[in-house]
């Protein structure tokens, strides 16, 4: 029982540490530019890089997304190659971007979690796309308790999964439930394995 408690505690602490990130509040302009009237009434929909609006096309240069060499190679194939490069740049997950100045504005005007028609829940809390050039202060809620975390620049897939699991993600409402389920499952598995080993040793 002591072992169970210890493993529970260690796992919980590890998860908490992995999920916790320094809370850096971004200074926001009083009146952020570039969000049309229509965008404030229209729901976004999810893409591989987070929810995104259909109305705004990405303006990221292909070079930034694909790299100079790859872009040049594609563009050497003429108009078709150029088109492929543009399409790749437009549809690439935002995390692929290196977080240049464009990606910052995109986080405001384009990449948005605002609900997704039953496909995902959104919120107003730090729902920016991953990989923006400014760390975004995010408010995560778990069972009504509000905590603030900030996501570092270009968050990795692992930390994204963790953020979703712990409820610190902008789009998740799972809160503490999922981490508790994971921890309980892991602990139960460990206890079961231990018990089997003891039985085998007898």
């Amino acid at each position: 029982m002591t072992r169970f408690k210890t493993s529970y505690g260690v796992l919980a602490a590890a998860l908490a540490l992995a999920a916790a990130t320094p809370a850096t509040a971004a200074e926001e302009a009083l009146i952020p530019p570039g969000n049309s009237a229509v965008n404030q009434y229209t729901e976004s929909f999810p893409t591989s890089g987070g929810n995104k609006r259909t109305e705004k096309r990405s303006t990221r240069p292909a070079e930034r997304v694909l790299g100079k060499k790859n872009t040049e190679r594609l563009e050497s194939h003429g108009a078709d190659g150029r088109e492929v490069a543009e399409v790749a740049a437009e549809t690439a997950p935002v995390a692929v971007d290196d977080g240049g100045p464009d990606s910052g504005s995109e986080a405001g005007a384009g990449a948005v979690v605002g609900g997704s028609g039953g496909q995902g829940s959104g919120g107003d809390t730090g729902s920016t796309a991953a990989g923006t050039d400014t760390p975004e202060r995010q408010t995560a809620r778990a069972d009504g308790v509000e905590t603030s975390v900030a996501r570092p620049e270009g968050s990795s897939a692992f930390s994204e999964v963790l953020a979703q699991a712990t409820g610190s993600s902008d789009s998740g409402e799972t809160g503490l439930l999922l981490p508790l389920v994971i921890v309980t499952t892991l602990a139960a598995s460990a206890a079961y394995a231990l018990r089997r080993r003891r039985i085998a040793a007898r």
């Binding site: 405001g108 609900g115 409402e173």
Partner: protein, 492 residues
């Protein structure tokens, strides 16, 4: 023992009767709820426009009362901002609007909106329709002046009872700031403003009713705060599923009588948004929050249960917007929107707006609201009603169910009477049910045993006096993505 069993039986029967009676009462209370309709943002001061509003079956008309247009550009050194007769004010345009609305038999709703630059407290503020840190005391003074002017005792002008405090305070388009250092601040700023506004309006006549909120539907990071979160912050509540009060007394609570939401929906009327959004499918979330706030004593209003209104909702139509909703679907969604709202406990619903916006060739159609109930003509008199207008005037929905055909509707004049439910057969329309609309014109029920519509073919309609509703197709329309003001790229 012999005597015990009948006694127990009697008690059980009595309880059963009470439960049954209670249920019956609840059912009839549920049925006897009105669905008052109106049209919002009527800019025209033309008497014909108000006749058109009446034609839509509406009894209410709303317009923005723009503080920055009525007040002087510079704050006078000496004046009385609470005095509606102060020569620095110019009310003429709004006086005419109000007289026209009341002469047409409509109930006016005025939305005090924006702020002159001198009433804002942000350095460098330059927007009058998206004011930045409006001064609550100055708003209260203007509210007093407006309520005095339209108190029914000033210069022969009509009385206004319904007063809305500001527009969409959760959107950066109309209220600044939304965030400071990443933290949402607009709910707290708005709380001070609506309390001041309410004080100004009620000081003139305590029976005046103050409408708060008027919130936009969507959470957009940095720009807007989702209406659920905004309302929780405004009312000092917490918790999504089971809202409860935060510690403290919320400064004595928030002073308003009616709460308003603009649940513009990026899809069908059944569509639900994100956790903090309120689209048509989310109305129940706002009701739950308001009830919890009522129980917690967070709202100081005229009603025990704060009514939830919708003063803006629509979809652009195609035509004229190529990215708008095709008319057959718009007709269906219009009726369904009213049904969903009523079912969610909304008792007042206003459509945005009366006529399509002006067509500017250089402006993309998805940026122009073309969601009017009338196609725009060269003049208001030349406007033509859209087919969807008839669905707004006489909403009717019908869905095949296991035990029969379920139906709901509201008569065009919101009055009671006999309503005949008909279905379309091979030889025309035939009657399947006859019901009586209640005193608010609401009728609903189940045409038992009617298997019509299960094949997803055909249509049903309601017939009242000499008119019929728009036929409601039995073929369901699944939810799909439809931006309320039209898609940018309608052809992909």
């Amino acid at each position: 023992m012999k005597g015990t069993r009948p006694a127990a039986l009697r008690v059980a029967l009595a309880i059963a009767c009470c439960v049954a009676l209670g249920g019956a009462t609840a059912a009839s209370a549920d049925a006897a709820r009105p669905l008052t309709t109106g049209v919002s943002y009527i800019y025209e001061n033309d008497a014909v426009a108000f006749e058109h509003v009446k034609m839509t079956g509406s009894t209410m008309a709303q317009t923005p009362l723009r503080w920055s247009l009525i007040a002087p550009n510079k704050e006078p050194a000496s004046w009385d901002p609470t005095n509606p007769a102060d020569p620095n004010y110019d009310w003429e345009e709004f006086d005419v609007w109000l007289v026209n609305a009341v002469n047409a038999g409509l109930i006016p709703v005025l939305q005090v909106r924006g702020a002159p630059l001198w009433a804002q407290r942000c350095p460098g503020a330059n927007e009058t329709d998206a004011p930045c840190k409006t001064d609550p005391a100055k708003l209260a003074a203007f509210a007093t002046a407006a309520a005095r002017r339209y108190s029914g005792q000033f210069g022969g002008l009509p009385k206004v009872r319904y007063w809305q405090g500001l527009n969409e305070p959760n959107l950066s388009l109309y209220f600044m700031p939304q965030y400071e250092n990443g933290k949402p601040v607009s709910p707290e700023l708005y709380r001070d403003l609506i309390n001041a506004f309410s004080a100004g309006i009620k000081a003139v006549d305590p029976s005046n009713l103050v409408i708060a909120g008027g919130l936009g539907p969507i959470a957009v990071p940095k720009y807007t705060i989702g209406p659920m979160k905004f309302t929780r912050e405004l009312l000092c509540m917490r918790g999504h599923n089971k809202p409860r009060p935060k510690p403290g007394d919320c400064g004595g609570g928030v002073n308003f009588d009616i709460y308003d939401i603009h649940p513009y929906t990026t899809g069908s009327p059944a569509h639900e948004g994100g956790v903090n959004d309120v689209q048509l499918g989310d109305l129940h979330k706002m009701q739950t929050l308001l009830r919890a706030a009522n129980r917690a004593g967070r709202i100081n209003g005229a009603f025990k249960r704060t009514p939830l209104w919708i003063t803006e909702l629509s979809w652009d139509s195609n035509p004229p917007d190529p990215g708008g909703l095709a008319m057959p679907i718009l007709k269906r969604w219009t009726a369904e929107a009213l049904f969903v709202a009523w079912r969610s406990g909304v008792d007042t619903f206003m459509w945005y707006s009366l006529r399509d916006g002006e067509d500017f060739p250089e402006t993309p159609s998805y940026l122009e609201p073309e969601s009017g109930l009338f196609f725009r003509g060269p003049t208001v008199a030349a406007d033509v009603p859209k087919p969807s207008m008839y669905a707004y005037r006489f909403p009717f929905v019908a869905y095949p169910r296991e035990k029969g055909l379920y139906f709901w509707g509201r008569t065009p004049n919101s009055k009671g009477g006999k309503v005949v439910i008909q279905v379309r057969g091979k030889s025309g329309w035939r009657r399947v049910e006859s019901v009586r609309a209640d005193r608010f014109g609401i009728f609903k029920g189940l045409a038992r045993g009617v298997r019509y519509g299960r094949s997803k073919r055909g249509a049903a309609r309601a017939h009242y006096r000499k008119g019929s509703s728009v036929p409601f197709s039995m073929r369901p329309v699944p939810d799909f993505r439809q931006p309320p003001f039209g898609a940018e790229n309608p052809h992909g």
